[in-house]
Homo-oligomer: 159 residues x 2
DNA sequence: CATAAAATTTAAGCATACCTAAATTTATTA
DNA sequence: TAATAAATTTAGGTATGCTTAAATTTTATG
């Protein structure tokens, strides 16, 4: 039942998932742009994903996800969201967070991913201790700002 | 000044760093075992790292890190420690944490790594708020245990 | 010290995934 | 609708990093 996927194959799947969510299907060109490769590379990967039954791909036709492909892509996408939220919590700037969430979403042990998502859940939704949590976030943010100030003044001294 | 390294090259550097810390030098066999490849693959990588001036390598001789190599390896190793500590904080089991720290130590943006280490610092060393922090850890741990109990009883019901 | 065992290296090959350039197909527009 | 433009595909290559098997070198032992 389980399909072995390379990190890169997962990147392509998530890309297709996001594009099809927007416009119903994905063209080779869209996929290539999203993943950051040349169209010929995207074609190559479509053949592989198609042979694994994860995408519907016909030469010169639009690409869509099969049921199996969509299921896997949704899981990847959900992991992605978890890591994005997590990076925001630890105060990583938005643009960097978006980039690095892509890296985190691969390879980690399911248990690790589970713990990441519990952390996010604990921080954001902890239902009966909101004051405690908001205090945590507040303190961590102040701590980071203080550290940033230290960094800046160090840089200044070095020049 | 900066050297471009693949993820894999970093793995080898850290392996050599750890082995030499233990016994002063590393043999091809040690490196291969540590990285989890065949000796011939390790030889191949030694040639590359040597050509970049990161390791001292002579055919049939022990491998050591150059000054530059040691500097880079130390940075990688420190990142590794940060992620290991982090995974422990979010209650990832030790064995999995050791494995996944290797994955996290690559590719992430320096700012992201900085924020991870600040988080660890904040949780473990926050000097003037130890009661608050130990309370945080305690609460998060309870939360995870509760969730684990839920998982178990769900599994039980499904059988 | 000769020889057997162990370690290392070389050689040849494979898989992934990327690229450019040329060929082909599809879409657009004059 | 014919010609041109855009998109896609194919072909041929490259780089990384891995493997096994054979050759070589080093180390250990009878």
């Amino acid at each position: 039942m389980d399909v072995e996927l390379t990190e890169r194959a997962e990147d392509y799947l998530r890309a297709i998932y996001e594009i099809t969510a927007r416009k119903g299907y994905a063209r080779i060109r869209d996929i290539a742009r999203e993943v950051g490769v040349q169209p010929s590379s995207a074609v190559e990967m479509m053949r592989k994903l198609s042979s694994k039954g994860l995408v519907n791909y016909e030469k010169y036709g639009g690409v869509t996800l099969t049921e199996k492909g969509a299921e896997i892509a949704a899981a990847i996408s959900s992991r992605h969201e978890t890591f994005l939220k997590f990076l925001r919590i630890i105060q990583v700037p938005e643009e960097i967070a978006r980039r690095d969430a892509h890296i985190l979403e691969h390879q980690l042990d399911p248990k690790t991913i589970l713990q990441f998502s519990r952390f996010v859940e604990f921080i954001t939704n902890a239902p009966d201790r909101p004051r405690f949590i908001s205090r945590w976030m507040e303190l961590f943010k102040s701590y980071c700002e203080e550290e940033d100030r230290k960094l800046k003044s160090n840089n200044f001294r070095r020049r």
